[in-house]
């Protein structure tokens, strides 16, 4: 189970290939990549702040919870911080399981929890200025299904 919190960009294809090559006994690999939107050309980028130390701990806790709920062979979480341009990958998760149902469910669980339980804060850098992204009630509600 690898967790990486980094400012450097990552190669989604290489990460998924590397992850897939190392899993043993898995029949399914699911991956999700989150990108910076450009909001119709209104966004020039995004700045992501985090809480060094707590971030890694919180993500590890979320991954451990996923492992305890589903039959996972492996999981990977990469999340960036710092300044990102539209189109750049912000984060990715990958899960490997004997069957796809567990891989899909665990990936969705990881995403829902990373959104509102990992200490990251996004600031949108726009043409007209900058603004912190407000958390959505829907993101909090998404946790209730688990």
């Amino acid at each position: 189970m690898r967790v990486a919190v980094q400012s450097q960009p990552f190669d989604v294809g290489a990460e998924v290939s590397g992850f897939t090559a190392k899993v043993r006994g898995a029949g399914a690999v699911v991956s999700f990549t989150g990108l910076v939107r450009d909001e119709g050309g209104n966004l020039s980028g995004m700045e992501i702040e985090h809480y060094p130390g707590m971030t890694e701990k919180a993500i590890r806790g979320i991954v451990e919870e996923a492992v305890s709920r589903w039959s996972l062979v492996d999981a990977l979480v990469i999340h960036r911080h710092g300044k990102l341009a539209p189109g750049e990958a912000i984060m990715m998760v990958a899960t490997a399981a004997p069957h796809r149902a567990d891989a899909f469910a665990a990936a969705e669980f990881l995403m829902d929890y990373l959104k509102s339980r990992a200490p990251f804060w996004k600031k949108e850098l726009g043409v007209g200025g900058e603004a912190w992204v407000a958390a959505k009630d829907a993101d909090e509600d998404a946790l209730k299904r688990w």
Binding site: I90, M91, M111, L114, K115, S116, R117, W121, K122, W132
Partner: protein
């Protein structure tokens, strides 16, 4: 500062805590972290102490429903006790993913 500062604070019934601020909380207060000596026994008491300090703290802590708190890097609540806590962080609801 250092050990003497902490021992003196302990003897006076006070504790020394690193207080961290993130996102707009950090911007409103104007600094990312500070070391505070306090006799507050709960998070809420510490918040009341900070709010009474200066306008910028009052501005940051005006609406607690829009704030989250972590004690020693674990999410916690405003009524949690501060005994033994080394690090406290205040921040808005998280927006990762």
């Amino acid at each position: 500062m250092g050990v003497f500062f902490e021992v003196a604070a302990f003897l006076a019934g006070r504790q020394v805590i690193d207080v961290l601020y993130f996102a707009w909380v950090r911007e409103r207060i104007g600094l990312p972290r500070e070391r505070i000596e306090t006799s507050a026994t709960t998070v809420a008491e510490l918040v009341a102490e900070l709010r009474a300090r200066e306008e910028r703290y009052e501005a940051a802590f005006a609406d607690l429903s829009s704030l989250r708190v972590a004690l020693d890097q674990e999410l916690s609540s405003f009524d949690a006790p501060l005994a033994g806590v080394r690090e406290i962080a205040f921040f808005p609801p998280m927006t990762g993913g």
